[in-house]
Symmetry: C2
Subunit: 332 residues, 2 copies
């Protein structure tokens, strides 16, 4: 018998999660029934939104259960089972990461072509991550050519794609914030017009220096002080697509910022929270456009890869601390 | 010579304004030149937004100048001058209140028919106040029939119209908050489904009791704790039209609330600040619809009238303290 190693949620974190909140469990590799596929996972994604699911609160997705495997985006090869035109040898994208072998309903799997792009791209720039960037920037914030865009967490998987799409779609100026000198340097190489390290001083000051004429669009991955700075820098009719607020996910006290929300009246600012799942209708156009940019070498993506399911909790904790450049993945 | 009495800004308030920030000044009644009208003002409006203009900060309208007359919506009769088809005897709406006689550019005046509606209605339900309610509810927040609407400051000039339009346009449930038992009673008489006095406990608790299934639309006149409660009560895809934040206009410390802004992601909430001047294209439809409801007796409006230009500062201060029911006006 082959052993299936998977990561369970051992306890719910209060504040910052630690290794003790996770448990490596060995289980039997399951056998697929009718309509099911057994997938040998090759890569799994860790994402900031997973922190919210570790709390036992009602939200847009159910919380993770205690003493059961976590889940999330993953890609792998079908090794048993056949259904819906998917057969052993096929590569499929699905939602049961955090384990080496996944028993997947064929309806919840999507066959992808591993020759068209590296399989990891389907978890990143060509997958949910890329669509999040695309939909938030172009649909939720409705960026127009000639505008100035600010994106926080710009060296992350979503942020780096946001900035590049903004340039490719005609933004006049793209500003990013990141958490280390190496990230700042990398974003400059990706074509950002201005980048600052948010450790270097109040975010509001750094943003004013980077965008002296103000911003039209803010893509928020961070919340708090970053959102306050963006509201302060907004021009009239500015729009913020609120994708994440990673500064608050582990907070045990309510945030003090933004303290300037009253400005949204006179400036006629729109703040809109969104989830990528409401924007699936954009997927065909997104894939066509981004795949084209990839082929032409006009868009780049970074990956930070951690090896082994046993290290998936570390990958996740590192993500929350900003240790990744681009997409954080676990090779299984 | 007839004396023209006008109110000047004597000093800029810090925190709550006081009588000492205003000065009654006697001046000569001016003589109209070409293209100008001399208007004997009959009524002037005091509005919460004027508090912001008393600060010396760059905003969407220039701040009031020190030692010069304040301004704002007014209505009166032309007593001299003739231009653009307007002549003595006509009633005009214009932007130079806070004075008994106004020298108005004919281009900045709008002739209205005093036989169609009481002249005060043109400053309230049929004027900027009514259009603010109409545009914010139907355009900015895009209220749909069958939805649940919450409006704060509901006994004010804008709020009471918001609630009534919501019902007339098919809202399933309209909830209002107000600041006294008399206001609560009045709003029930106007057809609000549930009303609470925000002094009676945490706003979040009162709102949950008044709208146990949540809200779809929030029309914000108050900000702070009210906005936090509304975000907490919002259903998925809820929208807030941010019209005012009167709870903060006199604050000298940044607001502590809303502390739950992170919820706008999972709930996909839109918060949008607006100014009525961006929605002038709705005016014809608005006037037709609201005038019809007025004729049919399906919409009511309250007015709190203070007499004499010398008491205009008191009227304004009373407005900030919530002493008005409906539209606060000064009879000149």
């Amino acid at each position: 018998m082959t052993v299936n190693r998977e990561i369970h949620l051992a306890s719910r974190p209060h504040g910052w999660p630690t290794a003790e909140n996770f448990r490596l469990v060995e289980a039997e590799v399951p056998t697929p029934g009718p309509g099911q596929l057994l997938v040998r996972n090759q890569f799994m994604s860790v994402d900031p939104y997973m922190r919210g699911r570790m709390n036992d609160v009602k939200s847009y997705v159910p919380p993770f259960a205690l003493d059961a495997p976590l889940d999330g985006g993953a890609i792998g090869e079908v090794v048993a089972g056949e259904a819906d035109g998917i057969a052993p040898g096929d590569t499929v994208l699905h939602g049961l990461g955090w384990r080496e072998y996944a028993l997947v309903d064929a309806q919840g799997a999507r066959k992808v072509d591993p020759d068209l792009a590296p399989v990891t791209a389907y978890l990143g720039v060509l997958g949910m991550t890329g669509l999040t960037a695309y939909a938030g920037l172009l649909d939720v914030a409705a960026m127009q050519p000639g505008e100035t865009v600010f994106v926080s967490g710009a060296a992350g998987a979503v942020g780096s794609v946001v900035g590049q799409i903004a340039k490719l779609r005609g933004a006049a100026r793209v500003v990013g914030s990141a958490g280390s000198p190496a990230k700042v340097e990398r974003l400059r190489a990706l074509g950002f017009d201005a980048v600052f390290d948010y450790h270097d001083g109040p975010v509001g000051n750094s943003l004013r220096a980077a965008a002296p004429d103000g911003i039209d669009v803010y893509f928020d991955n961070v919340g708090g002080e970053h959102l306050e700075a963006a509201i302060g820098a907004m021009r009239a009719h500015g729009r913020a697509a609120i994708c994440g607020m990673i500064s608050q996910y582990n907070a045990t006290e309510p945030p003090a910022a933004p303290r300037n929300l009253g400005l949204i009246i006179g400036k006629r600012i729109t703040l809109r929270g969104f989830l990528v799942r409401d924007h699936q209708h954009l997927r065909d156009g997104f894939e066509r456009e981004v795949a084209g940019w990839l082929r032409e070498g006009r868009i780049s993506y970074d990956e930070t890869i951690v090896d082994g399911v046993a290290n998936a909790p570390d990958a996740f904790l590192g993500l929350l601390r900003g240790e990744n450049l681009g997409k954080m993945l676990v090779r299984l």
